[in-house]
């Protein structure tokens, strides 16, 4: 079966632009996570959805970051007025009823 997919794989944005990153989780997975991975670092938690409910957004670095999952499947991470420090790989992961998380390939965002 298909794994977690993310699009686009690469995004270059000029500082100040808005971007939207998409995640298609594994079908039937209730839980969806977003992580941010800076170069040479481990991923850092951003936010978590259980179905359509955003239960934890404690990792979002600023109010410029917004995530949604309106129908409990596809999720979008939106970054408004991008800054250079937003440059990173954004990873999406989904899980069913186990602790193991299935990660997508990530979206590499470069803000110039």
């Amino acid at each position: 079966g298909a794994g977690v997919s993310q699009s686009p794989r690469y995004k270059v944005a000029k500082r100040g632009q808005d971007v939207a990153l998409r995640c298609d989780p594994i079908s039937g997975h209730v839980s969806l996570f977003w992580y941010q991975q800076a170069l040479g670092q481990g991923p850092e938690f951003l936010t978590y959805f259980q179905n359509e409910a955003q239960l934890d957004k404690s990792g979002l670095p600023s109010d410029r970051f917004f995530a949604e999952r309106p129908e409990g499947s596809v999720s979008t991470l939106k970054i408004q007025r991008t800054q250079q420090e937003d440059s990173a790989v954004y990873l999406c992961a989904s899980t069913g009823h186990h602790y193991e998380q299935y990660f997508g390939p990530g979206t590499r965002l470069t803000v110039t």
Binding site: G42, E44, Q50, D56, L91, Y99, Q101, F103, P105
Partner: protein
């Protein structure tokens, strides 16, 4: 913020040798997991060890956990060139009905022929 640190940051070995990576973390955990990340790819789950377990095996992987020292190690035996990747430990904290992961800084493993 990162939960823990991994040691070494980088490791270079020859094919057939064993590779050992260590992970230290800061707070109490439910489980500890190890993930592998190939360059430019997402993470792949390798193995999970529960807080009440001390050792676990899966194929060529052996994981130990010492909760008193807040540390874990991952041993890869008889390494292969295909094992070249970054390896991360991750601890979890319950949020809702799932567990959000807090990753270490990673060990970059290079296996040469």
């Amino acid at each position: 913020s990162q939960q823990g640190e991994e040691d070494p940051q980088a490791l270079s070995i020859q094919e057939g040798e064993n590779a050992t990576m260590n992970c230290s973390y800061k707070t109490s955990i439910n489980n500890l997991q190890w993930y592998r990340q190939n360059s430019g790819r997402g993470l792949v789950h390798l193995i999970l060890i529960r807080s009440n377990e001390r050792e676990k095996h899966s194929g060529r992987l052996r994981v130990t956990l010492d909760t008193s020292k807040k540390s874990s190690s991952l041993l890869i035996t008889a390494s292969r060139a295909a094992d070249t990747a970054s390896y991360f430990c991750a601890t979890d904290a319950l949020t809702g009905t799932a567990s959000k992961l807090t990753f270490g800084t990673g060990t970059r493993l290079q296996v040469t022929l």
